[in-house]
């Protein structure tokens, strides 16, 4: 039995399938969307960075938000793991420490969606050499 009987079927199908490759498509131009880097070093993983990363991936997917979640090495804030760095398009990156799933939800709802700052920001105290 044919799965695609009308053009509408195809469009619906495309919408459902999009998420399968959105990871790749978003990865092509990460600058245009929210980017989250999760610090995944031994200290981060031991403090639950993996669960946090999974939480972001799932939550963005559930809410249909375009975002790129990647992992990175230790950011040096081992006292505040799990740490994540959030970059909204055109804005400077912000680092949040001691991120729990509740905190992660707050970051999504308040900072990412509304632009409000939330507690837990680690002040930017460094510059990266070019």
């Amino acid at each position: 039995m044919a799965k695609v009987k009308t053009l509408d079927d195809l469009r619906k199908m495309k919408d459902q399938l999009k998420s399968k490759i959105s990871l790749r498509e978003n990865g092509e131009n990460p600058e245009s969307m929210v980017q989250i880097k999760v610090s995944m070093s031994t200290c981060g993983i031991a403090s639950g960075a993996k669960e946090i990363m999974g939480f972001f991936v799932d939550e963005f997917d559930n809410q249909g938000l375009d975002a790129v979640v990647t992992q990175t090495g230790c950011m040096g804030y081992c006292y505040a793991e799990p740490t994540i760095e959030v970059t909204k398009p055109g804005e400077k990156p912000l680092v949040f420490g001691n991120v729990t799933t509740d905190k992660a939800m707050e970051i999504i709802e308040k900072y990412i969606k509304e632009g409000e700052l939330v507690d837990g920001i680690i002040p930017d105290s460094y510059e990266t050499i070019e």
Partner: protein, 403 residues
């Protein structure tokens, strides 16, 4: 459906497979399993990335890390370092020959930076054996649009306006060819895809068929709608086993989904595709010889006229197009004729493949606008070859086939 947080794209093109690409896939899967990541990280075989000389190529997504010259033995390190610890494996990153720096994102590599891809849009991006990934990238939407919303003449006008010209060598305007075949009156017509690719050292057509077979099937169906044909034939040389296998898989999936077969999109339009094998004779790439070969006759050219558009396969009007020509069709319908007009010149506007075979220090597939002035092309190629560490400067560009 499980949610993967990362994808590992492994090149499944012939070049990379020949360098044990399949083993890399197996080893990666085993390493992921070992580290309990198999539900989070998906390994996907894709078509050729175009950077065959640096193969096997493995790309990590979404952070876009591009690893080159990967060996199966590197799999566990890649998983352990990149996926588990989040550190890039420096030694497998591409080394910029000029700056001597390791570059991780392919977008910053000289090789890709200046290219503009239409026909290769999906190669190295989707799994060519999975129609779902093609559909997710707007696959078959052009066919849907043509069948449901457009008259054949309007489609032909669009192709004409795009300036698309045949990539089989003759450079004949594609829209005009479709129009001529449409005008021929007959009870049966055929769409033929020329996948003979006889030119020595050429591998653009093969790369498309291996990397994005559905794009060719979709275009054949669109052509069938325009000229009034319900049968498509792909003439492909038997020396292309992987391309044949991927085509067969694609045809089966397309039939299963109903985008090939009867009453496509409920419009009453029928179209199906068959594969015909060639024994690999150069001359059988010529369209009249190709048609004779398919008819079981000697593969010899005959004088034109009559053109295939008037009398072709089994003496019926037949539209013969090259693989690469067809791969350009869907984007034109979806994005408009203008999508291929990147240069101000009136003729030959869309990007052209430059296969880069043979004894150069670097080889692969590149794409540039066809109407690029030669001087500019030289400059770009000089840069690319510098990026590829070529000891000799670019001295000659061959714009024909090598034959």
């Amino acid at each position: 459906m499980g949610k993967f947080k990362s994808h590992i794209l492994v090149c499944g093109g012939t070049g990379c497979r020949a360098s044990r690409g399949e083993e890399i896939v197996e080893n990666l899967q085993a390493a992921l399993q070992e580290n309990g990541l198999h539900k989070e990280v998906q390994v996907v075989r894709t078509g050729c990335f175009g950077f065959c000389e640096k193969g096997p190529v493995v790309k990590m997504v979404p952070d876009n890390t591009f690893y080159v010259h990967v060996e199966p033995e590197d799999a566990s390190e890649l998983v352990l370092e990149h996926m588990v610890k989040g550190r890039k494996v420096e030694r497998l990153l591409y080394l910029d020959p000029e700056t001597k720096e390791r570059i991780s994102d392919s977008k910053h590599m000289g090789f890709y930076k200046k290219q503009y891809r239409i026909a290769l849009r999906n190669c190295g991006f989707i799994n060519p054996e999975n129609i779902d990934e093609y559909i997710a990238r707007d696959g078959y939407a052009a066919l849907g649009k043509a069948l449901v919303d457009m008259q054949p003449d309007a489609v032909i006008q669009m192709i004409k306006a795009s300036g698309l010209r045949g990539r089989g060598g003759g450079g004949f305007p594609t829209g005009l060819k479709w129009e001529l075949t449409r005008k021929s009156v007959a009870d049966q017509k055929y769409v033929v895809c020329n996948a003979d690719e006889g030119d020595p050292g050429a591998f653009m057509d093969r790369s498309i068929l291996e990397g994005d077979p559905h794009s060719v099937l979709e275009a054949m169906a669109i052509c069938g709608y325009c000229i009034g044909a319900d049968t498509g034939l792909i003439y492909i040389r038997a020396e292309y086993p992987l391309a044949i296998q991927r085509l067969k898989t694609a045809i089966d999936q397309a039939r299963d989904y109903g985008v090939l077969g009867n009453d496509i999109f409920g419009t009453g339009f029928n179209f199906d595709v068959e594969i015909r094998y060639g024994a690999g004779a150069f001359v059988c790439g010529e369209e009249t010889a190709l048609i004779h070969s398919m008819e079981g006759l000697r593969g010899e050219p005959t004088v034109k006229p009559p053109f295939p558009a008037e009398r072709g396969y089994k003496d019926k009007p037949t539209n013969v197009n090259n693989v690469e020509t067809l791969a350009n069709i869907a984007p034109i319908l979806l994005k408009g004729s203008e999508c291929s007009v990147r240069s101000v010149m009136k003729r030959a506007k869309e990007p052209r493949f430059l296969p880069w075979p043979g004894r150069s220090t670097m080889w692969g597939l590149l794409r540039y606008p066809w109407a690029l002035p030669c001087a500019k092309l030289f400059l770009i190629l000089a840069e690319v070859s510098k990026a590829a560490k070529s000891s000799r400067p670019c001295r000659r560009v061959d714009l024909r086939g090598a034959a």
